[in-house]
Amino acid sequence: MTTETRLPTEHAVEELDRVTIRFAGDSGDGMQLTGTQFTKTTAVFGNDLATLPDYPAEIRAPTGSLPGVSGFQLSFSSSDIRTPGDQPDVLVAMNPAALKTNVGDLRTGGLLIVDKDEFNATNLKKAAYSVNPLEDGSLAKFQLVPIDITRQNELALEGTSLSSKDKFRSRNFYALGLILWLYDRSMDTTVRWATEQFKRRPEVLDANLKALRAGYNFGETTELFRVRYQVAPAQVAPGKYRHISGNEATALGFIAASVQSGLPLFYGSYPITPASDVLHELSKHKNFGIKTFQAEDEIAAIGAAIGASYGGHLALTGTSGPGLALKSEALNLAVMTELPLVVINVQRAGPSTGMPTKTEQSDLLQAMYGRNGDSPVAIIAPATPSECFFMAIEACRIALKYMVPVIFMSDGYLGNGSEPWRIPLMSELPKVEYHYAPSDGNFSPYKRDPETLARPWAVPGQKGMEHRIGGIEKSAATGDISYDPRNHHEMTLARAERVARIARDIPLMEITGPSTGDLLLLGWGGTYGAITSAAEAARKRGLNVSSAHIRYLNPFPSNLGDVLSGFKKVMIPELNNGQLSLLIRGKFLVDAVGFNKISGQPFKIAELEGKIDEMLGLAGPYTFDFGQSASLGG
């Protein structure tokens, strides 16, 4: 909780409902850390929040260069929010490059805090400024607050044993302290975190805390800020909360599935952005019996997971788009052998290497169809970072019950984004069941359960059930290799029907807003927040707009056709070039209109509202305004 802070009388306090802040600096400036710490403090304070870390793929692009800029945006509010905000109200720019690439997003009248010490000739040149923007009046439409952060920070650290390079590296703590003061937040959370983080490096801890306090005190004692701001805690459901990112929630969800099912968890993975955090997280928790396998490549990662699944474990493999492409042949082996397997795809901008650190939803058709033969798998997609937890459990439940591979479609926005999360009670966790083949003497590898069509899971060690499986088509009757025409026809239909029957076992689609109207916004995955908020804003304007979000992409919920039929028009916003649109149009013969953004950035609510107005005839054709500096980072 927050400490009692004494408000100096010279600063007026203004109550705000919602604030969006973006921290931007060189990728070596520690902006992700600053953002994360402010986020944690804000979460503990009780605001609702959403985050958007945005960083370049290069770990250290040339210092001070435009491609080397790293940013972290968060939005926090006293009421329920779903997105990290369209436009920052506050921009903290640690150097000219960060200013240049981000100032275009700052709202007019927004607060612009810069480290003026970094606006020297060298850095201005690296950022391609011919004149110093702090001096030429070009920033007049913002509340510009230039602060000599570098020098102030150095002064605060005078007498410490750190080199001047290390002192420079503490500037992010100085900036953090300043912003914590400005929004009336306590330093406690950061102090606790740093004390743990740097416990083996006391001199670094000391310097960082000195810098943090110096930044905080600078705000309090100077006249630079006329007011400071308060954003009251949000009204949320009672309970115990923590702050969680999508990738953390994914990993925890899989551990939960292992705990709930009683099956040991095996995770095979090859490092890939932005999915590696799932591997990092799972490899920490070996005490849950988890075995993680960092494979030599993506194929070995899924191969090992298939081997573990064959051995009776709860087996997962995780990757991002290019890795899913590499796994597709082996994934088909799991389709053919009908083994339970969960494949996590934390999507990123493609094709090929694409933009590894930027988000996109462009692997949906790859997940649906990117394999040889008729090869159905189940596909589910969480809608928010914290929802990854329950959807991860759901992926395991479906895989084990139907003996089928399930692709779990997360994305960079969900995986790296974070939000406060009410920690579920153990009693709220769903059941996850599995069944090894019964020892009743009637075992046959492809004798299907009449309800689910799942084949029996006979694992090595089970006596009397020695059998052979593989990628070659098998006889439904005996499990032996079969090239029989009728058998292949029927096995193909059975594999499809088994996936189709999952629809009997998943929640129906829900509509946010009235169930009939002029326009339905239909989305999937990480665009949930923006879509829901845009439709809600449209309703507030008196428009007949509803929204619905698909969490089960294969099979679709059984009432999806009915949901669509209640609306005159359907709009499908996606961060791809029209993939769900193709599926919906193909399956339901609905003239759905795609709204497609492929910039590596999430939707802004205003963009969706612009398209809503177009579709309802209230405005002309909507075009995206990417701006010259719409994107953070490289």
């Binding site: 070996k286 005490n287 019996g289 030599e296 191969g303 997971a305 081997g307 573990a308 052998t337 006596k463």
Partner: protein, 346 residues
């Protein structure tokens, strides 16, 4: 030679199963071409499996794609006929998840050294406790006769009508370089040696790798006949034996000694005391690397165990980490869920 060990976990309450060869013969019709060397390897395997005293349900054969990879269908154990080149990945996952199982990997020169070459290297360096048998016929048989990564330079095949222009890989050299802990070679038609070599492989803790020279009588007939034919075998192959000097010939009259780093044949070496003495468990793999360079016709072709050393296996190390972690901090999921910075809302 390694000390035979039986994995404790493979024994069910000391109740050793009494099984015979026919218990390991499945009901599937064997579909290799008549006269294929694969038949011999299958027969020796089915003969030795009962000797392992391991229940059938605890044995798994995993294979990739190719003629050799049909093997699992013919053995009455658990079996997984996977996809091209990937048998080792599946076997690695299986063995890591279930270290108590006995896992065989059946692969070929195309499957194991071409499309699956990467996995072979990594399984070897990890020392996953698998028994890997690579059937080397120096040809792609299932796809009807293209050259393989072990085909000799200049080989004329369907896909190389003008002869190949690529140097072959030597599987034993690859295994030694990748740090395999048990490396051996045998020959399909030398059934006694084959059975004995396979048996030794099964007794090794850690990955065992056995290359078997296997004749494809359809697409590469006689690839090894020049030195494996019964009449010439003693003169043109050398049977490596741990702790013994390198001798060969009908009367064991020839030997091999070192001249600097180069081996040389000593004819009629009965009284020669400077012959190379084979040692499979030397810390230094130099000797094995010298032997692997010996090839017909300049030298007799070495068969038997090149190297056999002990090093903890990947699967047991992974299991150990898990066991240690569980012992140190027993799993408590509710605690994990509630870890880190939390706050109450009333």
């Amino acid at each position: 030679m390694t000390t035979p060990t039986i994995h404790a976990a493979d024994l069910v309450n000391g109740d050793l199963p009494v099984l015979s060869r026919k218990d390991f013969v499945s009901n599937q019709e064997v579909r290799w071409c008549p006269g294929c060397g694969d038949y011999s390897i299958l027969a020796q395997m089915q003969k030795l499996l009962p000797e392992l005293k391991i229940p059938r349900e605890k044995i798994v054969f995993v294979s990739g794609i190719g003629c050799s990879s049909r093997f699992p269908y013919y053995v009455e154990t658990y079996g997984f006929h996977s996809i091209h080149g990937r048998a080792l990945t599946i076997a690695t996952g299986l063995k890591t998840a279930r270290p108590e199982l006995t896992v065989f990997v059946i692969t070929g020169d195309g499957d194991g050294l071409s499309i699956g070459g990467n996995h072979l290297l990594h399984a070897m360096r990890r020392n996953v406790d698998l028994n890997v048998i690579l059937f080397n016929n120096r040809i792609y048989g299932l796809t009807k006769g293209q050259f393989s990564p072990t085909s000799e330079f200049g080989k004329v095949t369907k896909s190389s009508p003008y002869g190949t222009v690529e140097a072959p890989l030597n599987p034993i050299r690859v295994a030694l370089a990748a740090g395999a802990t048990f490396v051996a070679r045998s020959v399909d038609r030398d059934i006694k040696h084959l059975e004995e070599t396979l048996f030794q492989a099964t007794q090794h803790k850690g990955m065992s790798f056995v290359e078997v020279y296997q004749n494809c009588n359809i697409f590469n007939d006689g690839a090894f006949a020049a030195f494996t034919d019964k009449e010439v075998r003693q003169e043109r192959m050398i049977y490596l034996q741990d702790g013994k000097p390198l001798r060969f010939g009908n009367e064991m009259q020839h030997g091999v000694r070192l001249n600097g780093f180069t081996p040389e044949v000593v004819e009629n070496a009965a009284g020669e005391s400077g012959l190379l003495v084979h040692k499979t468990d030397s810390d230094n793999p130099t000797l094995a690397n010298i032997l692997v360079g010996m090839d017909y016709p300049a030298f007799p072709v070495p068969v038997g165990v090149f190297r056999s050393v002990q090093r903890p296996s990947y699967d047991e190390l992974v299991q150990q980490q898990v066991d240690d972690a569980v012992a140190k901090s027993p799993p408590h999921f509710e605690e994990l869920l509630n870890s880190g910075e939390t706050w109450e809302v009333n």
